[in-house]
Structures are given as C-alpha cells and as structure tokens.
C-alpha cells in the first residue's frame, strides 16, 4: 500500500528562468528536515534544477506558463519531488531521456535526465503532447547514526 506523506509542500511559479534558483533552494530547505549530508542536499538541488529548467525551456517555448513543485517526505526518509507543467509535452520520452539528446537552446547540454537519474534513486516521467509533463524524483536520505527513529 502507498505510504502517506508525513510532510508536504506545494508551490506554483511562473516559468521564468530566475525561478530555477528559487525551486532548488526550496527543495534543499525542505529536505533539510531529514538531516541529510551535504552530498545528499547537493544531489537533490541539482536534480530539481534539471527538472525545473527542462520545464522552463521546453514546456513553454514561446510563452510563460505555470510550473508546480510538490515536495513530500515519507516515514522511510524518502523525499519525493514532483515537477509538473501544462505545456507542450514530450513526443518521445524515451528519446528525451537519452544522454546528449536535446531540442533546447545552446545553454542546454542534453544531460538533464542523465543527471536526474544519476543523482536520484528513481525518476519517473509521464508526458502527454499538448497537455504537459510530470517528472517525479525520489531519493531516500540515509538515517544518521544517533538520531531518534
């Protein structure tokens, strides 16, 4: 049975590139409740930055749209991060997840999904052309010795 989250934050922001820093910092602050290591925080920040930047660059190429960031914590120390847009969607998700594949501009390297997959435990992508994309990132934060269970 699916666990219920022990904590949850949902926020919505415009697809302005200035919000990339805001989104990853918010995720880092939220995951800090689990007393993560610096490496674990950096992994989460980097993966969130990739997912949000993908939405900003690809979902709304000619206009501004809304991006939802949902952060959840579960009892087993797992953090789940959902990044959702209502943009143009991805025609071929498998191809989009291939290393070095990009349809973005020159500031993108095509390594976004590869980094998400390397830095997080699990990456799920669901997309419908014309309706939008949802990326769900999960990572279990190691329980630190000496902390109450």
């Amino acid at each position: 049975m699916r666990q219920k989250p022990v904590n949850e934050v949902v926020m919505t922001f415009l697809s302005r590139s200035a919000n990339e820093g805001f989104a990853r910092t918010a995720a880092a602050c939220f995951v800090a409740q689990l007393d993560p290591t610096l490496d674990e925080v950096n992994d989460v920040k980097t993966a969130v930055s990739e997912a949000v930047t993908n939405a900003i660059v690809h979902a709304y190429p000619q206009t501004l749209g809304k991006i939802t960031l949902r952060l959840r914590l579960f009892g087993d120390q797992t953090v789940e991060i959902l990044v959702k847009d209502n943009g143009v969607g991805i025609e071929d998700v498998d191809r989009a997840r291939e290393p070095l594949y990009t349809t973005g501009n020159e500031e993108r390297s095509g390594m976004g999904f590869t980094i998400m997959e390397s830095f997080m435990d699990r990456v799920r992508v669901r997309s419908t052309p014309g309706k939008g994309t949802m990326v769900v990132l999960s990572k279990q934060i190691a329980r630190r010795v000496g902390l109450p269970v």
Partner: protein, 122 residues
C-alpha cells in the same frame, strides 16, 4: 554570478563565481567568448573555485569554451573545481577533453581523474 578575466602573456584566466545554471549560462558564455576573442590565448584557464552551484548548463558552458579554444589552438585547463560541480561535469565525461584540477589543486588531485591533457593543446 560574475565572470572576471585576467591575462598574462598568452595565458587567459577566467574566474567564474556564483551559480552556473541555465539562468546565468548565456551571460557567462558571452563574456568568456569575448575575452577569448580579444586575448587569443595559447592557454585558457577556467577557475571555478568561486562557483557555488552548477547544473548541466555548466557542461554546455565548458563545451562552448572548449570549442572556442579549439578554433584558436588553445589548451584548456579547469581549476578549483568544487565537488558538486565535479560530480556534474564527470557525468558528461569532460575529463576526456580537458584537464581538471580540484579545489585543492595539485596538493590533493583526484587520482586518475584530472591528469588528462586537452586534445587541442599545441
């Protein structure tokens, strides 16, 4: 974010500070290319010791610098690479193209990771 360029002889040092993400990448690329175009160095040193965060946009920035340096036959050395940035950069295998040194430089190099020479060096 700031890009500060200093040159001595035919060596151009570009100090990048702050966050290297999609929001800042174009500015960094433009300022770096202008400096390289003006100095036409034999060696380009990218000092990342002031970088506080990097995502895959940093890969694009470094590849752009590498291509521009290749056009003029300059070698590329990347110094002061913070751990977080290094983890991103090695995902793309950039150590096969250019020389990397960690934040602690030669005193604590990452064995086997930062001893590669750039292919364009002459």
């Amino acid at each position: 974010m700031a890009v500060i360029c200093t040159g001595e002889g035919r060596v151009l040092t570009v100090n990048v500070t702050g966050e290297v993400d999609h929001h800042h990448a174009r500015t960094i690329m433009t300022e770096m290319e202008q400096a390289v175009g003006a100095a036409l160095p034999r060696q380009l040193i990218l000092d990342l010791s002031g970088v506080t965060f990097m995502d895959s946009s940093g890969i694009a920035v470094l590849l752009r610098a590498y291509r521009r340096a290749s056009e003029i036959g300059a070698a590329v050395r990347v110094t002061g690479v913070p751990e977080q940035a290094w983890k991103v950069l090695k995902t793309a295998g950039l150590e096969r193209l250019m020389t990397f040194e960690s934040e602690t430089g030669g005193k604590n190099p990452r064995p086997g990771r930062d001893t590669y020479e750039t292919k364009t060096g002459k």
